[in-house]
Structure formats: C-alpha cells, structure tokens
C-alpha cells in the first residue's frame, strides 16, 4: 500500500472525518482531502488526483451510494478504490454497495485496526 497516495474522506459529520483522518495518519497517510457530501466530493475529484475514496453512506444532497455509482460511471474515476464506512449495516445496504462496485465496506462503529485491515485487503487485490 503506497502511503503517499491521495485519500479523499467523505462524511457529512466533521467528527467522523476527523476520526478517520486520525486513523489514516496513524497508518502513515499524509495526503488527505475532505468533503462533507457527495456533491462536494465530485468537485474535489475533478480538481485533484485521488487514489482512494473513503465515504459515508447517509449524507445530504448526494448519498455515498450515489457517489459510488457516479465514480464508477466516469472513465477518469471508475478504477479508484472506494471504501464505504457507514452506519448502514443491513444486508440490503451491503448488497447494493457491492453491486455498485464498492471495494470494501466498514460498519460503524469501527476500530482503527478494522480500517487498517480493510484498506490492506483492498490494496492486496
């Protein structure tokens, strides 16, 4: 896993963006961008090279699932690994995300080790 990659963290709660950023920094990532919903995330993706997206599901304006579908639908972003970190834990949610092309799925609440493990699995593929 290349720790120099640009990571985009998308969550409407600043608390969660802060916690995820802290975990990413613990792992060794230094280039972390943020967005507070899917629409803002798309704007960030247009202006920046992003190598990994970590996104919540339930957000205003555009959900994480809709963001995932848009990311997978664009030639320039379709291959970016996309990890959903969300409180939406019902089987139907996971299935929808898998069908839309999610790279991995972390259910809140999570430990730092859970995030590390899921990211390691994504980049081991």
């Amino acid at each position: 896993m290349d720790l120099n990659m640009n990571v985009l963290v998308v969550d409407d709660f600043a608390t969660m963006r802060r916690i995820i950023k802290n975990v990413l920094k613990q792992i060794g990532f230094t280039k972390i961008l943020e967005a507070d919903d899917g629409t803002t995330a798309l704007a960030v993706l247009k202006k920046n090279k992003v190598d990994l997206i970590i996104s919540d599901w339930n957000m205003p304006k555009m959900t994480g699932l809709d963001l995932l579908k848009k990311v997978r639908g664009e030639e320039s972003t379709k291959s970016i690994p996309f990890v959903m970190v969300t409180a939406e834990a019902q089987k139907d949610n996971v299935l929808q995300a898998v069908q839309a092309g999610v790279s991995n799925y972390v259910v809140k609440p999570f430990t730092a080790d859970a995030i590390k493990e899921k990211l390691t699995r994504v980049f081991a593929k």
């Binding site: 709660f13 608390t15 834990a89 430990t111």
Partner: protein, 153 residues
C-alpha cells in the same frame, strides 16, 4: 413496549461507546417517560421509517459528553461547542445503525433520517407520535445520559 424492540438500542449504545469512545456505559432500568423535557444538556434525535415509524434520541449531560468526545478525539474537550454538537449527531447515527441491523434480523426493516442535535438546558424532545416513550438511563464514569425510543406500533 416490547423489550425485543428496546434491547437492540441498549446493545447498540453500549457497543458504540465502547468501540468509538473507549467508554463503558451501564444501562439502568427502562421506564415510561411522561414529559418532553430532555434529561441532558445536548440531545441527538433521529427519525426511522419503514415497517414502523420510530424516533430515537440520546441526551447527554455535559460531563458525560465532554468525556466521551475527548476519548473519541484523543484530546481534552472542555467546551460545549459545534464539535460536541457534531459528535452527538454522529453517535446518534451510529447507535441507530447498529440497532437497525438487529431490528432487521427481527424482521423490522427501518431506514434512518439524518439526525438533528439540540443543545441547551431544559430543551425538549418531541417524538414521532403520542405513543409511549421508553427511556433507558445510562451511567458512565464521567456522567449520565438517556436514550429514548418511541415506536409507532
């Protein structure tokens, strides 16, 4: 209210705080709440819809939420500010998510709205309907909080 519907919220609360805030929360005896005045200084409220309508609220006293958020961030929080407000919203969101996963397994599939947060002494919490509100008191080393659940059953 059926304890089968309450237990997922109790378990979710304990698990969320232990996992994200390294805080042990002890649930007390649930009771029927007769008024709308919040028991804490800051409350997260969230509506659930689907196979039933429900509202859940989590109301923290100042000491408990400052300690919880301090643990979540790894730094001491001393003021009731926007960061605390935001954290309460996220905690409510996570409790709802975990509880809904369990309720789904019990055959009650629910979707959640985005939580709102109210801060201030003696604020009120208005639930989804006039149905009974079950309050579950919790205690932590640093203070207390209360989870309220109202199911339109």
């Amino acid at each position: 209210m059926d304890t089968k519907l309450i237990n997922p919220f109790v378990d979710a609360t304990v698990n969320v705080l232990e996992t994200m805030a390294f805080t042990k929360a002890q649930a007390g005896k649930p009771y029927l709440k007769k008024d709308e005045v919040a028991l804490g200084d800051v409350s997260g409220i969230l509506g659930l819809t689907g196979e039933a309508n429900c509202t859940i609220s989590v109301s923290f006293d100042r000491q408990s939420i400052l300690s919880i958020v301090s643990n979540m961030f790894g730094e001491k929080m001393e003021e009731m500010n926007d960061e605390i407000r935001d954290a309460v919203g996220e905690i409510t969101n996570m409790i709802s998510g975990q509880a809904r996963q369990k309720l789904d397994e019990l055959g009650r599939s629910l979707q959640a709205a985005i939580p709102i947060v109210i801060m201030g002494e003696n604020h009120t919490i208005t639930h989804v309907s006039r149905h009974a509100v079950t309050a579950i008191p919790f205690s932590t080393e640093s203070g207390d909080f209360t989870v309220e659940v109202c199911f339109e059953d």
